[in-house]
Symmetry: C2
Subunit: 445 residues, 2 copies
Amino acid sequence: MAVTHQGPKGTRDFYPDTMAVRRHIEGAWRQASVDCGFDEVEGPTYEHLSLYTAKSGPGIVNELFSFRRAGGDDDYALRPEFTPTLARMVAAKAGSLPMPVKWFAIPVHFRAERQQRGRLREFVQWNVDLMGVEGAAADAEVIGCAVLAMERLGLKPTDVRVRLSHRGAVGAALAAAGVSTEKAGEAFELLDRRDKLEAAEFEKRAAALGLTADARKRFETIAASKLPVSADAAALGACLGVGETALAGAVELADRLRAMDLAPWCEWDFGIVRGLAYYTGTVFEVHESSGGERAVAGGGRYDGLVELFGGPKMPAIGFGMGDVVLGLVLGDRGLLPKDALALLPRPDAYLLSDGSEAAERELPRVLMAMRRAGLHARSNWKATRNIGKLLGDAGKARARFAVILGAEMAEGAVTVKDLDGGSQVKVPLADVVRHIAEAPRNAGT
Amino acid sequence: MAVTHQGPKGTRDFYPDTMAVRRHIEGAWRQASVDCGFDEVEGPTYEHLSLYTAKSGPGIVNELFSFRRAGGDDDYALRPEFTPTLARMVAAKAGSLPMPVKWFAIPVHFRAERQQRGRLREFVQWNVDLMGVEGAAADAEVIGCAVLAMERLGLKPTDVRVRLSHRGAVGAALAAAGVSTEKAGEAFELLDRRDKLEAAEFEKRAAALGLTADARKRFETIAASKLPVSADAAALGACLGVGETALAGAVELADRLRAMDLAPWCEWDFGIVRGLAYYTGTVFEVHESSGGERAVAGGGRYDGLVELFGGPKMPAIGFGMGDVVLGLVLGDRGLLPKDALALLPRPDAYLLSDGSEAAERELPRVLMAMRRAGLHARSNWKATRNIGKLLGDAGKARARFAVILGAEMAEGAVTVKDLDGGSQVKVPLADVVRHIAEAPRNAGT
């Protein structure tokens, strides 16, 4: 009967320590979202398979966990991303939703791929979207929300970089380099995949795009261009080989990012494309600054997508940030405590009984009364009634106070020991809940 | 291209209002768990199919969403419950886990069944488990945790009842009624299904168990027995037709529940069986008091389960509480606000600009600075610069303060309007973040 079972490949078991890290990250995401005025939403964990093929074509099926219910006739898939669900939800209620739509979600997602560093089959992803508003203010609002969460997790502009590009500006640059309008899509794809292609293959594809040797060099210059967001339009224009008209969107975004004091986090990187064909303006990725990890986050403007899912024409900008790479970066930068349990709330009180009849009788009542008063209260589960040993357990549990139900019970009192300061006082049993509830909390708790 | 998509049957789209209710419920669950000293855990959303058939036999497959990855050879299933994952996780680390194991989880679960009132294909379930401790103190600890969450959601003992039974006591009662040891399992099953069977079918099965007409009457008496937890051993014994030895576990539990002031919520109901064969002692269900809904929660002691999953012999008690029936009960009892958005945190500040150059320039900076200071700050996305209209929007957003960047910008100041009290003051621009951060919060926020 008794066989050992293992979890599926590429999934995780979250024990209390790893769960504490997950909640720490999710907490920063959620609070940053709320503080920036986004409302939380959620959708089903699986959707009709057709929702994904509608956006990405049948080719996506191999990357999905798709399934059919035994005896049913509908094909489903575990969600690989949140955007199709979001677009479906907005389309269904577009007439009645207050505008703009500012939503965030923290769902789990699934991709049927080989497990690698920074990539799992099941992962948590923070999604932030602002719909119904065009322009740089909206773009900067979602980028600011991403930065706010990273700041609160302890990251600095030297740790991670927000790499920005703009499809409009880059499209104009590609045109100026000789790419025809009908080849623009292929040119973006080549820009996106240039690091993964052999030099000869790159040359072959560039030639197929109709690029001359000179234009190919120009193409590579664009891909390698990095500029601070403080760069003015002239500098951007010189770098991309385009005039100021094509740069209006990029310049407006840079102005807004500077106004919000986000410039130290951001830089132009015109090699950033974001493979997905539906992006229309600003695109960005967040990377660990040395570039050694996969992207921490990615997003951009997708003004046509809600319409594709049956909704009205609606401008939109959003991003996704996964927990896996972010967790690696936080760990590498020393931003997670060695003992992750230190991220969890400390018990306010740890109740100990010396085993006397009165103590054993009163302990369960006091324990529940403390919890009813909003306190985090624990007690001992061991058979021992050795107060010294039990105090050691209270310390290991990181409790603020030990409440000892001992000899003083004869006079209707208990001993309350401050486990940080070491002092102890006698408190009437009837007052002990209030005593703990009103004790000032240390800064560290 | 543009077709309208719908979510899968029996799943939910959580818009901001329904998500606020979900977070309200999950928040009460999580805080009650933490205050009772449980640590949060999570597992994969899907498991190997064999994990579920190991516990429940191949019959369970029809109730599962099972699937195989295209091109893969492993069978998986979306988790229908958390206990197998929990048992697998405990078994894998049993040697190194600090004892007792006190864990909670708030996962989503999936059942491939027809959607009905109180029953969906995807639902959220709070799981609380205490492993490594035998006896009534552990049983009462998890029951107390369930009650604590319900109290905090506003429920009272008149709204919901914790219906308790004890397999040991009922087993002895069945034996006393003439059920042989080897028929005990079938007798529990008959007890569990008695309300779903026709009278004739019940009679037939009872006879097959070897019950005389007299014993069948006894059987029905047991099933219909309800007693307050204040009942003494003599009253319990008279009701079940057994002596005090068989009642030791039940009496100990009742004593502990009274000691923790949980008795007003609880009652003995010896018709409660919990179908699952693996329960070994205390079993309980939480029901809406009129009995009109499905169970809000159910659980019990399952001392043999961890061993079944390859772990050591380990006593355990736990329960699951779903969000669907609980949400219906809270709604019916008027314990959810009419506008669920009122459950969400209020914005601290709503920033308005009169459209002047200085106001438009400073607004993004102040907005981001407030958020960096931990404030929930919003601003206007409409084109209008009519301060009266914008103040209306600030009020609709339930903001505590409106911050008006208007004519006073010329002297480096803004107007801060208290949207609850109505008073307004002029504040230097450089001080406005601190001004809002230090403003006392009303009790209602």
